[in-house]
């Protein structure tokens, strides 16, 4: 039975290959005793985690008792902070005014600004199908739309590992990494379906978008070339690419 635990451990530590993952999950559905083992593994880990956290809380309590005077000192500072807040508020008004002025009077948005606007507007939420059907991609999208990027990422990456031929989980994993500011990983995912035969492949557009956000030397030029390829080859997001190139 210890072998079962080793097998379960390997699954949760993501050490199994795609075919083994499928076999593991099939076994949960077909073998009730095995499913019990998996449930025990998870319950035990969660219970242990709760214990570990409880011990840490006790340690924190002791630390707090040791540093009580420090906290009081910080608290005394709050009165002095009041006028600082007023100064900060005034400064904030000036900064906001400046940005508003820049937006209204600047000639046109820079490529980086266009990328920011696109991410904030078009990628803030992603379309979810209205269906009661249990679909992990849809669950991932719901988590994404709730701002639970880490959880949605686990779903998209797991599906991508399990279904290496499907471009969608890679596309969504790339978008989550883009939102998290991990541009290397975002590029890695977007590049993975660059050569897939799709009706309207958005890979190059998203690579360009990521490069504009990363903004390392040479990224802007490379992004422009990619957008040009999107337009020339009639690829996904062609209209947006055309718009951006016009304003470049």
């Amino acid at each position: 039975m210890e072998e079962n635990l080793e097998y379960i451990d390997a699954y949760f530590q993501r050490m199994l290959k795609p075919e083994e993952i499928r076999r593991f999950e099939r076994r949960i559905a077909e073998d009730p005793a095995f499913a019990e083992e998996v449930a025990f593994y998870l319950s035990a880990k969660q219970s242990l985690k709760a214990e570990a956290n409880q011990e840490k809380k006790e340690r924190f309590r002791q630390l707090l008792a040791q540093q009580a005077p420090v906290i009081n000192m910080d608290q005394n500072r709050t009165g002095k902070k009041a006028w600082l807040y007023r100064v900060a508020a005034a400064a904030a008004v000036i900064v906001v005014g400046f940005f508003a002025w820049s937006i209204f009077f600047s000639k046109s948005a820079s490529p980086q600004q266009m990328a920011d606007t696109y991410i904030n507007k078009d990628l803030k939420t992603l379309g979810v199908k209205m269906s009661a059907e249990l679909d992990s991609i849809q669950n991932g999208l719901r988590l994404y739309n709730n701002g639970q990027y880490d959880s949605s990422l686990v779903i998209f990456e797991t599906i991508s590992q399990r279904e290496p031929g499907d471009y969608l989980p890679k596309y969504y994993a790339g978008i989550v990494y883009l939102q998290l500011g991990n541009y290397e990983k975002a590029l890695q995912y977007f590049r993975q379906f660059e050569n897939d035969t799709l009706y309207s492949n958005p890979s190059l557009f998203y690579q360009a978008l990521t490069l504009l956000k990363r903004n390392l030397p040479g990224d802007k030029q490379k992004a422009r070339e990619l957008l040009q390829r999107v337009v020339d080859n009639d690829l996904g997001k062609k209209e947006t690419a055309q718009e951006w190139l016009k304003q470049w």
Partner: protein, 198 residues
């Protein structure tokens, strides 16, 4: 000047994050530094949110525990300062507390949720496992953790806390990570037998 490329973390914050992310002996020190640094949030919660000192402590320590987990698993990206990020978690915890108080929900279901670990499991299997987990007698399981022996308990707790077998080997002075893995699985098996004996 590109405002977006400005580093958001101070050297001190970076040090704290690095020591927690190391997951070895430095992690404990990093956790304590993190807790001490913003402990004044507790007093602020008492004044701002009108919570008791005890609730303030719970809110803050839960905030730190959740931050430690995110830093250790690499999901904190440093896009804002550590303080701003912590404060947003702290505020969310406060909202959870309010919700819990108004709905009178038991906290145990929150603490013992396994939903994060199940995220990687396909939907059909997830439902089966979740149903079985729901049947767990948490009190008995907790009780059996004591009976499993101190060494096993320590090792399993480190594992559940995200330490790798290699880290555990360093912390508990085992020769190799393979020895830790074998011992850890044996301890888990022992715990299972004790639990099922009930």
């Amino acid at each position: 000047m590109n405002l977006f490329n400005k580093p958001t973390l101070s050297t001190d914050e970076r040090e704290i994050i690095d020591s927690i992310a190391q997951n070895g002996v430095e992690r404990k020190k990093g956790e304590e530094r993190l807790f001490n640094r913003y402990a004044y949030f507790i007093k602020e919660a008492v004044y701002k949110y009108s919570v008791s000192e005890e609730d303030g402590f719970d809110l803050y320590s839960d905030t730190i525990l959740s931050a430690i987990e995110k830093i250790a698993n690499g999901s904190f990206q440093g896009r804002s300062s550590l303080k701003t990020w912590l404060y947003s978690i702290f505020h969310n915890k406060y909202v959870d507390l309010l919700r819990k108080k108004t709905t009178n929900k038991s906290s145990i279901h929150q603490t013992l949720s396994i939903s994060d670990m199940l995220l990687q499991v396909s939907d059909q299997s997830k439902t089966i496992v979740q149903r079985l987990v729901d049947k767990t007698d948490w009190e008995i399981l907790r009780d059996r953790l004591v009976q499993v022996g101190e060494n096993c308990r320590q090792m399993l707790m480190l594992w559940a806390d995200g330490y790798s077998d290699k880290d555990i080997a360093g912390l508990m002075e085992y020769k190799t990570s393979d020895v830790v893995k074998t011992s850890r699985l044996r301890c888990l098996e022992k715990l299972k037998l004790l639990y099922r004996k009930t």
